[in-house]
Symmetry: C2
Subunit: 387 residues, 2 copies
């Protein structure tokens, strides 16, 4: 098995991109990644595209082919594969690209993620997102994603004493990070009061506990680690690429307050990399709702169970804290184009490890982690990256 490195990154601005189409977005991200890697499209040997639900959002399947075509990559007839695991589709695209390079099937691979969510109305978008849950046992009986995560939040508050203010601080902190990120959908700073007085969505979760509906795309370029310095002076190495599944339905889980697939994927990742949670300098985790970030930083091993809320309120997860979490602004403030998020997380960590994160820079960051969740935890993908 060959080691793999990231030599190029690209990411569009995230937001409600009325003036850009599905195609415009992935082309822009791809070109940025190729330019960053200093290579031409003709050097690309394969492409993996993460996308959750283009069939519903833009009535287009066969996404790998359309990306390759409109990006001008069909002149070499490269293999182009769409992978999907709901909101973890981007993470899967990264892992699939890593495996393709590790296998020696391909040398120069693009892993990309794309979602164009605003071409449909909110009702259709919410229904599309509900297809990430168990349609027959959850969505069909009215369980939307805010309601499923609300149950986790309520259970976490009951079991560990997590408070409304601690949840709110996740959003406050991620907006403060997003304010520093030119790509972020929301760059306004907010307060705990603004979160706790925002409209109720699914008790206890309010509007500012929820990540938004977003358009965006991101891409990274992968090569064998031994070839990385042919392309760049600042390769970032993939130390682990792991994935775990769990029951798709929340009601079938062992616990409402732990996402077991996160625990397992993280355990596999740390074992593969020969590292511990304390070795991680910066992490992008899946904060689709505020409670999701608190559970993630516990399940990844950064904090003990129940300690995630207090640590957040104490500033330990802010830039300058013990372990900065979601320096991009996270899903909450940077935005959550579902198929793109997993790749955007990698783009952010690469910028941090290269020392190119400007106002968001975590001093001396050498090792970073990404954590991408599908649904309520039916799929989790974890990557550990290092300088």
């Amino acid at each position: 098995m060959r080691d793999v490195a990231i030599i190029g990154i690209g990411c569009t601005k995230f937001g409600e991109m009325w003036h850009k189409s599905f195609r415009d977005l992935f082309i822009e991200a791809g070109i940025l990644a190729l330019e960053d890697a200093g290579i031409s499209g003709a050097q690309v040997e394969a492409l993996y595209g993460g996308n959750m639900s283009s069939g519903i959002f833009v009535e287009q399947e066969h996404v790998g082919a359309i990306i390759a075509d409109y990006s001008g990559l069909v002149s070499n007839n490269i293999p182009s594969t769409r992978v999907e695991a709901a909101c973890a589709s981007g993470g899967l695209a990264l892992r699939s690209g890593v495996i393709a390079v590790a296998s020696q099937y391909h040398d120069v691979v693009i892993s990309a993620g794309i979602e164009k969510m605003t071409d449909v109305g909110a009702e259709k978008a919410i229904d599309a997102l509900a297809s990430a849950a168990d349609r027959e046992w959850e969505a069909a009986v009215g369980a939307t994603f805010p309601s499923l995560y609300a149950m986790m939040a309520r259970a976490h508050m009951h079991e560990f004493g997590t408070t409304r203010q601690q949840l709110a601080q996740v959003a406050v902190k991620n907006h403060s990070h997003g304010a520093l990120n030119p790509r972020a959908q929301f760059r306004n700073r907010i307060t705990i009061d603004m979160v706790t007085s925002s409209p109720l969505v699914a008790d206890p979760l309010r509007l500012y506990d929820c990540s938004p509906i977003t358009d965006g795309a991101a891409a990274v370029v992968l090569v064998p680690a031994e070839r990385a310095r042919e392309f760049t002076d600042t390769p970032i190495y993939v130390k682990a690429a792991t994935q775990a599944s769990d029951t798709i339905s929340l009601h079938d889980r062992r616990s409402l307050t732990t996402i077991d697939a996160t625990v397992v994927a993280a355990h596999r990742a740390f074992k593969t990399a020969g590292l511990q949670p304390r070795d991680i300098d910066v992490a992008e985790v899946h904060d689709c709702f505020t409670i999701a970030e608190i559970m993630a930083i516990e399940d990844l091993g950064f904090f003990n169970k129940g300690a995630g809320g207090p640590a957040t309120l104490d500033g330990e997860t802010a830039i300058g804290g013990k372990i900065p979490i979601n320096t991009s602004g996270g899903l909450k403030a940077c935005g959550h184009p579902v198929g793109a998020t997993g790749i955007k997380q990698a783009v952010e960590i690469v910028e941090q490890l290269r020392g190119e994160a400007n106002k968001r820079q975590v001093d001396g960051a050498e090792i970073g982690l990404t954590h991408n969740v599908g649904g309520t935890g039916g799929t989790v993908v974890v990557h550990i990256l290092s300088r």
Copy 2:
């Protein structure tokens, strides 16, 4: 890169399976494959599921997780990944599984394919299938798949003199093969007259030139070649797994009568395997329409351009002929559950190479090929398998 072998196969009956759900189908195929391999679910390390459009057909995305969950494979939290390239999704699932084993990431992998198409009406199904074409430049202006392939057929008739009778003989031959296959959707024999007098769909293609809308699932179990004999006395080896892309739109192609992605994927496959087209004893090719089979057997190198129609009429592609094509009945008679077809093709070839194809058996078959097309040729996946 490790060599890979297939040690187990499973396939449901194909057809309008009103009494079976999406979940029932993939569970059945998976259990059949595990039983055939003589292993338990606990030994499976990863799963790749090919599916084109479950978001539209059954309103369910996050397909990898739901397959792993309902198949009981989440007890080990295995990675489970959906791949999609329209009607080539099954072939992609096979290739993705092969790469995962070759990479040393995983040893025992299931590659499966599934589509449940009959839960929606014909109009919605046809629209879902149109999402495999370019939605903005083809589907939105009314180009359905029969009309796109009809243009290829007309061009092929003009350029090479291919006749209406030659096209019809593809369907006649595939129905005669399907009559021998207990899994086939259609087991009735038909005549050239029945094809040429069936209702016109898109001139020159008639109803019996078109593959049907089908429910079904199929699965294969993959292991490293060096471990294959731990599991079975009849391993089938993967000699090549290749994939190529092309423009998604037909009007952007160099030719209407050649699918370049087939030519490229086949060239790569024969080069990888160190074989020639004449070495292939039996092949499953993508006959979504009768013209597609004629183009495929030419583009794969079995016949010169223009010779596919006459060879078909002369019986060279029937069981007992020079190179039997679509012994399963093909997409036309066995049926075409779009995400499952690529895996069903592999199941058929494995049965042929094991000598277990009963009345469909090609005497002495040692090397077989599968050819799976997405859309009108935006994606093509080719596998070469051998005893």
